[in-house]
């Protein structure tokens, strides 16, 4: 078993709440080291309030055992994960599934003024004629916006 094989297998693990993206797309797998049958995985949680964290950790362990190895998952609880770690492919999958991908964090901390502006593009029709409905949505990682152009509510991945 090689690290490349483990990475490829992890691409098949769907996010428990947004199954169109994989854990690799989300950027939550930080490192994979293979030593014989032992696989050491460094995993960075998304939002600390996310109830899917345990499910993700179990899915990683199960996937490694399907490959015939034993996983040791180290959960890294620092700020090394940000929404900037979501891969370009992951962002495109989110958009195609009706979730506006997060704005780049590189531009600095998101402010209320930014969220209330119409800078965010509707994932359905591409219009920027959108407004913030609620900072909070069905999960900690999402906000709710409204597109005035195609008259659809949509979910916006929060930038963290």
């Amino acid at each position: 078993m090689t690290a490349e094989e483990v990475w490829a297998a992890f691409e098949e693990i769907p996010d428990p709440e947004i199954p169109v993206v994989s854990l690799v797309d989300l950027g939550v797998i930080r490192d994979v080291a293979v030593d014989g049958d032992n696989v050491h995985v460094e995993f960075t949680p998304t939002f600390l309030g996310c109830p899917a964290l345990e499910t993700m950790k179990r899915a990683i362990e199960e996937k490694v055992s399907e490959l015939g190895g034993a996983a040791e998952v180290a959960v890294i609880q620092d700020d090394s994960w940000s929404t900037d770690r979501i891969t370009p492919a992951g962002r495109e999958k989110l958009r195609a599934a009706g979730f506006a991908p997060p704005a780049p964090r590189a531009a600095g901390t998101t402010t209320l003024v930014q969220l209330q502006s119409n800078a965010f593009r509707c994932p359905y029709c591409g219009s920027t004629d959108t407004k913030l409905e609620n900072i909070f949505g069905p999960t900690p990682c999402r906000s709710i916006r409204w597109c005035a152009s195609c008259r659809q509510p949509f979910e916006q991945f929060k930038t963290i």
Partner: protein, 216 residues
């Protein structure tokens, strides 16, 4: 208990209990948007509590769930501000969110700058998520600023808010809130508990106590 474990438990207990209190609005908030907001904030605060209890459990050679649920009410280290049952009063509930977030921000910023690398890293992560809680609180505080009920609620809860932060941070909190930290004020500090905590604890731990040792 060493100083580090005490600090971790103080913050974890604040976040767990404020999360529990905020979750009490699920289903009964004044608007659907606020129902979603309070539920989401509560879930996130309890997530922060979990991460902090995990660090505390390593320090104390214990279990995060045991720390969260198996201590007696008087062993909790939360500040009385988070214990108050405010579900009959939206103005006070918003005043608590506003004051708690300002106090919590000071505390988190201090942790990010601390020499404790593990705790500083976790605090930096928590800080990014709290940005959204602060936006919510600021939006409401701005909206209600001139409402007498809200102003009275802030004044009433102020001595409790001072009890959330360390004495050295009280002057800075007072400056941010725009109130006085006059030494004649009786601060409701950490270590004291309101009768409401025992009631909350009874409800919060009821299921866990019903079958001791069960795996949920």
């Amino acid at each position: 208990m060493n100083e580090r474990a005490r600090l971790l438990l103080s913050i974890a207990d604040d976040e767990l209990i404020v999360g529990w209190r905020d979750s009490e609005w699920t289903g009964i908030a004044p608007t659907l948007e606020e129902d979603v907001a309070f539920s989401s904030i509560a879930q996130n605060e309890i997530g922060h509590a979990r991460a902090l209890y995990e660090l505390a459990a390593k320090e104390l050679d214990s279990d995060p769930d045991a720390l969260a649920f198996d201590r007696a009410p008087d062993e909790y280290l939360c500040a009385p501000l988070v214990e108050l049952d405010l579900t009959d009063d939206w103005a006070k509930t918003i005043a608590r969110r506003h004051l708690y977030e300002l106090a919590d921000e000071l505390r988190i910023r201090a942790l990010i700058a601390s020499d404790d690398r593990e705790l500083a890293g976790l605090a930096a992560k928590i800080d990014r998520e709290e940005v959204y809680h602060r936006m919510h609180a600021q939006m409401w505080a701005a909206r209600l600023r001139d409402e007498p009920r809200f102003r009275a609620a802030v004044d009433e809860l102020w001595p409790y808010a001072l009890g959330v932060v360390a004495p050295a941070q009280r002057a800075e909190l007072a400056r941010r809130v725009g109130l006085s930290d006059d030494s004649s004020l009786t601060v409701f500090g950490r270590g004291e508990h309101t009768p409401e905590l025992a009631e909350l604890w009874n409800e919060m731990t009821e299921v866990r106590r019903s079958v001791p040792g069960a795996s949920w």
